[in-house]
C-alpha cells in the first residue's frame, strides 16, 4: 500500500522558485568581491603537440596584469576518477586538443587579461593527431597518453555472464546489427564560472558552478597541496548542469591558485566556446549488437560490443565504458550476456557523463534492434516487449538487483494513450509511430572512491523558535534537490516546507553528499533527510508525549502541530514541542546518512551498474516525414515513467518534459561535429550556440506525460529517479517511428533528413533501406572474464580469475 502523505506528492513550488523568477538567485558569475581580479585562460591552438616553450614574460609585464601562471606552477595531475588522474590545471609538456589550457592570467579586468593572453608566446611541436574512432584504432603511436590499456586504447574490457554460445545455440534467430550514436554536449545556458578567495587566514574559498563540490574539494587539495580542511568549496546554483559540471575543472584550480598567488579574489567565467572545450558530453559510440531470440521475441543471448570516442582525457570514461554495457539486462531478461567495451583517446575535447551517462547509446542500439526483430518476427513491438519483461524483485545475469519494476505499466499507458494498436502501421505514408523503453539507475551503488562511508549525509537543526534548518552537501542544478530536502523533512515533522531553511553544497557547512550525478540525489539525500527527520521526530514525540501525558504511539505531527491522534485538539504547537524537546534533551540536532545496499556482483567491473533502484520509461513518438526531402517533424510524444513515488509531481513532470526535449535534440539535430583536416588540426566545427542546434520553442512537440508510481523499497517514500531516465527511450523511438513512417532504418543518431533521404533512395534502388555504420573495426578486446549467472548458481565472482589489468592484455 502506498504511504499516505501530505507534503510529499503535492505540486508545491520549489523553495528557491521566487528567487529564480525575480533574478535574485546568485549564480557564480553574479558574485562580485572587493579587489577582485579577472582570469582568462590561454588555450591550445594545436590539437596535439609538444609544448616547446611557453613564454609569459611580455604578458606579465603588461600594466594591469597581476599574476600569470603556467603548467609548471601546478604540476600535480588530477581527474575525477582515481584511475585516470590524467589532467593538469595547465598543460606543461603537451597539449592534446584545440582548447586545452596552457596558461592563465589574472588582471584587473577581462580586457586586460585578454590582451595579456595575446602577449604569451607558445612554441608548439606538432604531433600526429587523431580525429575519430577508426583513426585511433589504426594509430598505435604516438600515444595521446602514456597510460591506458594499450596503444591509444584507454580502456578495454570484456566479460561474459553465462554461456552465450549455448544461448545463441538456443536461439531461433540471430540478429547482428551495427549502430552509431554521435556525440552531443550539455549546453547549459550558464557558462562555467568560478570565484576563488584565498583569505588572510590561509583558507581558500571557491564558489563554482559545479555539480560535485566534494570532488572539486578533493582536486583542489591535491593539486594545490593544501590541507583539505583549509579549503571550502561552495557550489553555486547551477544554471544547468546535465552532467557537464560534474568533473573538477582546470579553471577552478587555476583561479584558486591565482588567488593564493595574489592574495586577491579571482574570478573566471568561460566563454561559450570554452564551454564547448570543457565538454564531458555524450561519447560517440560505435556499437555491434548480436542478439539471439526465440520466435516470441524473448532473448536467449546477447553479445554487445562498443567503442567509445573518449576525446583527449579520461574524465568519467572508464565508468562510461562499463555503462555502455551494464544496463542492457535490466529491462528484458538476457539469460546469457557478453559485453566487450573499449574507449579510445582522440584529440578532441574530453567526453564524459551527459544525462543518461553511457546508456542512451546502447539503449538506442538495443531498442532499434528490438524493433527490427519484432518487425521481422511479425510481432507487435509493444506487445513483444510487454511479454518479455524483467520481473520485479529479481536479479539479472550481470548481478543487478531489480526492486520495483513498473515498465509493464509504462508500456500499457503509452500504448493506450497513443492509440498505438489502432494507429501504428496504419497511418498514411510519411506518418509513423515508434516505441522504445528504457531504465536508469537511481544513484551508483558504489562511490567513485571506494570507501565504507555514506554517500550522502544530512544534518538537521531544530531551533526553539520552531525553525528547522537542513544541511546537506547536495547541489541544486535546477532539478529541485533543495526543495526535495525541504519537502521530506516537512512531511516527517508535519510543518510547512517553506518554513524550512535549506543550506546545501558547502563543504564547510554541510555534510558530504557526493554530488548531483547518476540520478542519485532524490534517493540518497532523500533517505538521509528522512532518517535525520525521523530521528528528530522521535525526540519531539517523546518530549511532547510526556507533556501531553500520552504514549508516543498516539503522537502525530501535522499542520505545524504535535498532537494526540485520539483527540486532535489536544496538542502543542511545533515550536512548543521543540522547546519541550530541547528542555529535555538539550540542543536538538540530528543526522541522517545513506549508504546503498551492497551490490551482488563481485567481478571486475561490477562497480558499474548496481543501484539501489531502477527507474523505467516507455515512450511512443509520432513523426511526420516528407519522403521527398527526408525532412521530418515530431508532432507528439507520449511518455510514461515509473518514478516509484513522486516527491513532487510537477517537478517530476518537468524533468520528464526536459528529458524528452534533450532526447529529441540528440535524436534529431545536436552533434559535436569536428573537422579533422584543417591546417593539420582537429577543429570543433562550430563551437557556438547558433551552430550547435539546440531545439527552439518551435521544434517542441506536444508531450503527454504519464506517471507510474511503483514504490521502491529502497526509495524515500518509494521514490526513484526521473532526471535522466526519460531521455533514454526518445532517440530509438524516433528512429523506430521513422521506419513506421517511410520504411527505412536510420541506425545512427542523429536521424537527419539527409540520412532518411539517402536510405529512401537506397531502398528505391533495390538496396537495403538503411543508413548506418557498415564496418566494425577489429578491436583487441581481451579474453572475457567468465561470470556464472545467478541462474547458473554463480556467486557474483568470475570463474577463471582474470589476471589484473585488462584481462591479460599487456599493461603499459
Amino acid at each position: 500500500m502506498k504511504a499516505r502523505t501530505r507534503v510529499v506528492g503535492r505540486p508545491y513550488e520549489k523553495v528557491d522558485a521566487a528567487a529564480k523568477v525575480t533574478g535574485q538567485t546568485r549564480f557564480a558569475d553574479d558574485l562580485i568581491l572587493p579587489r577582485m581580479l579577472h582570469c582568462k585562460l590561454l588555450r591550445s591552438r594545436r590539437a596535439h603537440a609538444i609544448l616547446r616553450r611557453v613564454d609569459v614574460s611580455r604578458a606579465a609585464a603588461l600594466p594591469g596584469v597581476v599574476a600569470v601562471a603556467t603548467g609548471r606552477d601546478l604540476p600535480i595531475p588530477f581527474g575525477i576518477l582515481p584511475v585516470s588522474q590524467d589532467e593538469h590545471a595547465l598543460c606543461f609538456d603537451r597539449v592534446r586538443f584545440v582548447g586545452d589550457p596552457i596558461a592563465a592570467v589574472a588582471a584587473v579586468d577581462e580586457d586586460t587579461a585578454n590582451e595579456a593572453l595575446a602577449a604569451i608566446d607558445v612554441d608548439y611541436e606538432d604531433l600526429p593527431s587523431i580525429a575519430s574512432i577508426e583513426q585511433a584504432v589504426e594509430t598505435p603511436e604516438p600515444r595521446i597518453h602514456e597510460y591506458g590499456d594499450r596503444d591509444n586504447f584507454h580502456k578495454l574490457v570484456s566479460m561474459e555472464f553465462g554461456d552465450t554460445d549455448e544461448g545463441f545455440a538456443r536461439a531461433e534467430k540471430i540478429y547482428d546489427d551495427l549502430f552509431f550514436y554521435e556525440g552531443s554536449t550539455h549546453l547549459p545556458l550558464e557558462q562555467h564560472a568560478a570565484l576563488a578567495d584565498f583569505g588572510p587566514d590561509g583558507k581558500l574559498t571557491l564558489w563554482s558552478a559545479t555539480q560535485t563540490p566534494h570532488y572539486v574539494h578533493r582536486a583542489l587539495a591535491k593539486v594545490l597541496e593544501m590541507p583539505a580542511a583549509r579549503i571550502r568549496v561552495i557550489a553555486t546554483p547551477n544554471g544547468g548542469g546535465f552532467g557537464g559540471k560534474s568533473d573538477p575543472f582546470n579553471h577552478e584550480i587555476v583561479v584558486a591558485h591565482l588567488s593564493r598567488a595574489t592574495g586577491r579574489p579571482v574570478k573566471i567565467c568561460l566563454t561559450r566556446e570554452e564551454v564547448f572545450y570543457c565538454h564531458r558530453g555524450r561519447h560517440p559510440i560505435l556499437m555491434r549488437a548480436r542478439t539471439g531470440v526465440r520466435r516470441d521475441g524473448s532473448i536467449t543471448a546477447m553479445h554487445f560490443q562498443t567503442v567509445l570516442d573518449g576525446g583527449a582525457y579520461g574524465s568519467y570514461g572508464v565508468a562510461s565504458t562499463y555503462y555502455s554495457g551494464a544496463l542492457q539486462t535490466v529491462t528484458y531478461p538476457v539469460p546469457a550476456y557478453r559485453f566487450d567495451g573499449a574507449r579510445v583517446f582522440t584529440n578532441k575535447p574530453p567526453c564524459g557523463p551527459k544525462r543518461g551517462h553511457g546508456t542512451p547509446q546502447p539503449r538506442f542500439a538495443l531498442e532499434a534492434q528490438l524493433d527490427k526483430i519484432a518487425c521481422d518476427l511479425g510481432l507487435d513491438p509493444a506487445a513483444m516487449r510487454l511479454s518479455n519483461l524483467q520481473p520485479p524483485s529479481s536479479i539479472t545475469a550481470n548481478f543487478l538487483r531489480i526492486g520495483s519494476m513498473g515498465l509493464g505499466a509504462c508500456i500499457e499507458k503509452v500504448v493506450d494513450a497513443s492509440g498505438w494498436k489502432e494507429r501504428r502501421g496504419r497511418l498514411p505514408l510519411g506518418r509513423g509511430l515508434g516505441i522504445a523503453c528504457s531504465s536508469y539507475i537511481c544513484g551508483a551503488g558504489l562511490p567513485i572512491y571506494w570507501n565504507a562511508m555514506p554517500q550522502s549525509g544530512v544534518q538537521l537543526k531544530l531551533d526553539r523558535s520552531g525553525g528547522v534548518t537542513v544541511f546537506c552537501g547536495s547541489t541544486d542544478i535546477g532539478q529541485g534537490s533543495d526543495s526535495v530536502l525541504a519537502y521530506i523533512v516537512a512531511e516527517v515533522l508535519g510543518i510547512d516546507p517553506f518554513d524550512i531553511r535549506v543550506v546545501t553544497a558547502d563543504t564547510d557547512l554541510t555534510p558530504v553528499d557526493l554530488g548531483s550525478y547518476s540520478s542519485r540525489v532524490t534517493l540518497m539525500t532523500g533517505n538521509a533527510a528522512l532518517q535525520a527527520a525521523e530521528r528528530a521526530r522521535e525526540l519531539l514525540v517523546a518530549a511532547a508525549g510526556d507533556k501531553l501525558g500520552i504514549p508516543g504511539v498516539r503522537v502525530a505531527l501535522a499542520e505545524g502541530r504535535v498532537f494526540d491522534v485520539e483527540d486532535p485538539d489536544k496538542g502543542l504547537s511545533f515550536s512548543d514541542a521543540v522547546i519541550a524537546a530541547e528542555s529535555r534533551f538539550g540542543t536538538i540536532g540530528t543526522v541522517g546518512s545513506y549508504t546503498p545496499p551492497p551490490s551482488a556482483g563481485r567481478y571486475r567491473g561490477a562497480g558499474v551498474g548496481p543501484s539501489p533502484a531502477y527507474s523505467y520509461s516507455a515512450a511512443v513518438v509520432e513523426v511526420e516525414v516528407d519522403p521527398g526531402t527526408g525532412i521530418y517533424t515530431v508532432p507528439k510524444v507520449w511518455i510514461a515513467h515509473d518514478v516509484g513515488k513522486c516527491i513532487n509531481p510537477v517537478l517530476v513532470v518537468g524533468q520528464v518534459e526536459g528529458s524528452v526535449y534533450m532526447g529529441l535534440g540528440e535524436a534529431m539535430m545536436e552533434e559535436m561535429a569536428y573537422r579533422g583536416d584543417v591546417n593539420g588540426n582537429v577543429m570543433h566545427k562550430a563551437p557556438s550556440m547558433l551552430e550547435y542546434k539546440s531545439p527552439t520553442t518551435l521544434e517542441m512537440p506536444e508531450i503527454v506525460t504519464l506517471l507510474v508510481e511503483d514504490p521502491d523499497p529502497n526509495g524515500p517514500f518509494g521514490a526513484k529517479e526521473v532526471g535522466q531516465g526519460p531521455l533514454l527511450p526518445i532517440p530509438p523511438a524516433v528512429a523506430n517511428a521513422v521506419f513506421d513512417a517511410v520504411g527505412v532504418r536510420v541506425d545512427e543518431i542523429p536521424v537527419t533528413p539527409e540520412k532518411i533521404l539517402q536510405a529512401l533512395k537506397a531502398k528505391a534502388a533495390g538496396r537495403p533501406g538503411r543508413v548506418g555504420p557498415t564496418k566494425f573495426p577489429a578491436i583487441p578486446y581481451p579474453e572475457p572474464s567468465r561470470i556464472p549467472t545467478p541462474a547458473e548458481g554463480g556467486d557474483g565472482r568470475a570463474r577463471d580469475l582474470a589476471p589484473t589489468g585488462a584481462g591479460g592484455v599487456r599493461k603499459i
Binding site: 577581462e110 585578454n114 516528407d626 591546417n679
Partner: protein, 341 residues
C-alpha cells in the same frame, strides 16, 4: 564574457552629418544600425573598426512611405516593424513573410532592413572567434591567405545569407546609396557581387539609406527557406520567387536563390521555363529542374552540401506552388516549420 574591441562612437543627427563624418573619419569608420550583424563580428574580431557611426537615431531613415508608384522603406526601419506593418503585409505578403523568417523575434526587434541587405557573407570557417581562426591560420576573408572551403579557390566562398534579399530582388527592388559625393540609385540585384569578401558594390563610404519597391501591380512573391530549426538559423538555401500572370499564363517571373553562393543567384533559365505557361505542375517542374543546375552550394554551412543542392529543386517548386495556391503565400502558422509540402 565576450567583449567588443575598443572604438570611437559618433552619433550623427542627419544623413548628411553621417556621410560627412564618414568622409572625415576615413576607412577605419563604419556605419552601424541595429548592430546585430556587426557587433557579433566585432566580438569575434572578424571586424575591428576604429570608429562607429550610428545611424540608429536618424528618424529620416525609419520611414515607410507608400505612393502610387510603390513604397520607399527607410534603411533604418526595424525588421519587426516591417513584418507587422499592415500595409506591407497587404501589398507584399511574400516580403513580410521573408522578414518574419529572419533569425529570432528578439533580433528582429533590433535589426534593420538596411542591415539585412548588407549582412556579411557567412562561412563556418569564418564565423568563429579569433582564437579558432588563429588555429586554422585564418582564411582569406580575414587575416589569412587561403579559402578552406576550397583551397584552390581564387576567391572567398562565404555565403549570402540574408532572408529579405531574394524576395526583394524578385520584387524588383532598388536601393539608394548616399555619400558625400551625393546619392545614387541602383537595382538591388546590382548591389551584390559573387565574391565572399567584396560581396557588395556599395563603396565603403556610401550609406545605404533606403530600398524602393514598385507597386505590386499584379506581382505576387513567395519565400522558402531551408534551415535546421524554425528560428535562429540563417538560410542555407532560400528561394525568392515572384510572378506576374496575365490570365492563366505567367507573363513575367523572377526567381532568386539565396544561401548557395556569395551573391543572390538569379535563375534566368528557370524564369524562362515559366514564362508563357500556366503556373502548374508541368511548368513548376521544369523551372525547378532548371534551377537545380546553377545551384552549387559548398561545404561551409549547416547540412550536407550535396543534400542542399538536391533540395534546390524541391524548394524552388515549393516557392512556386505557394504562388499557385489560391490563398497566396505568406500566411504564417499554416505551413510546416520546415519542408516543402
Amino acid at each position: 564574457m565576450l567583449r567588443l574591441p575598443k572604438f570611437r562612437y559618433f552619433v550623427p543627427r542627419t544623413v548628411a552629418d553621417a556621410v560627412a563624418m564618414r568622409a572625415d573619419a576615413g576607412p577605419e569608420a563604419v556605419f552601424v544600425a541595429g548592430g546585430t550583424d556587426l557587433y557579433p563580428n566585432m566580438k569575434r574580431r572578424q571586424q575591428t573598426p576604429a570608429a562607429l557611426i550610428t545611424i540608429s537615431r536618424l528618424d529620416e531613415l525609419r520611414g515607410v512611405a507608400f505612393s502610387a508608384e510603390g513604397v520607399e522603406i527607410g534603411a533604418g526601419a526595424i525588421l519587426s516593424d516591417l513584418e507587422n506593418d499592415p500595409r506591407i503585409r497587404e501589398s507584399y505578403p511574400g516580403l513580410a513573410h521573408a522578414i518574419a523568417e529572419i533569425s529570432t523575434p528578439l533580433l528582429r526587434n533590433m535589426g534593420t532592413i538596411g542591415g539585412n541587405l548588407l549582412l556579411d557573407t557567412r562561412c563556418n570557417y569564418y564565423d568563429q572567434n579569433f582564437e579558432w581562426r588563429q588555429a586554422i591560420d585564418f582564411c582569406m576573408k580575414k587575416d589569412g591567405e587561403i579559402c578552406w572551403v576550397a583551397p584552390g579557390s581564387p576567391r572567398c566562398l562565404a555565403v549570402q545569407s540574408a532572408d529579405s534579399v531574394p524576395v526583394l530582388i524578385a520584387l524588383g527592388a532598388r536601393v539608394r546609396l548616399v555619400s558625400a559625393a551625393g546619392p545614387r540609385e541602383i537595382p538591388l540585384e546590382d548591389l551584390y557581387r559573387n565574391d565572399g569578401i567584396h560581396y557588395v558594390t556599395k563603396r565603403p563610404e556610401e550609406l545605404l539609406t533606403g530600398v524602393w519597391l514598385p507597386g505590386p501591380d499584379g506581382w505576387r512573391a513567395s519565400y522558402r527557406k531551408l534551415r535546421r530549426r524554425g528560428s535562429f538559423d540563417f538560410p542555407v538555401l532560400s528561394v525568392g520567387a515572384a510572378v506576374r500572370r496575365e490570365g492563366p499564363l505567367v507573363a513575367e517571373a523572377r526567381l532568386v536563390l539565396g544561401g548557395v553562393a556569395s551573391a543572390p543567384l538569379r535563375l534566368t533559365a528557370a524564369e524562362d521555363a515559366l514564362r508563357g505557361r500556366p503556373l502548374e505542375e508541368e511548368a513548376i517542374g521544369a523551372a525547378a529542374e532548371a534551377a537545380a543546375r546553377p545551384s552549387r552550394p559548398m561545404d561551409n554551412t549547416d547540412f550536407s552540401f550535396l543534400w542542399r543542392k538536391e533540395m534546390t529543386r524541391k524548394y524552388v517548386a515549393a516557392a512556386l506552388r505557394d504562388l499557385a495556391a489560391p490563398q497566396g503565400p505568406g500566411a504564417r502558422g499554416d505551413r510546416p516549420l520546415q519542408g516543402t509540402s
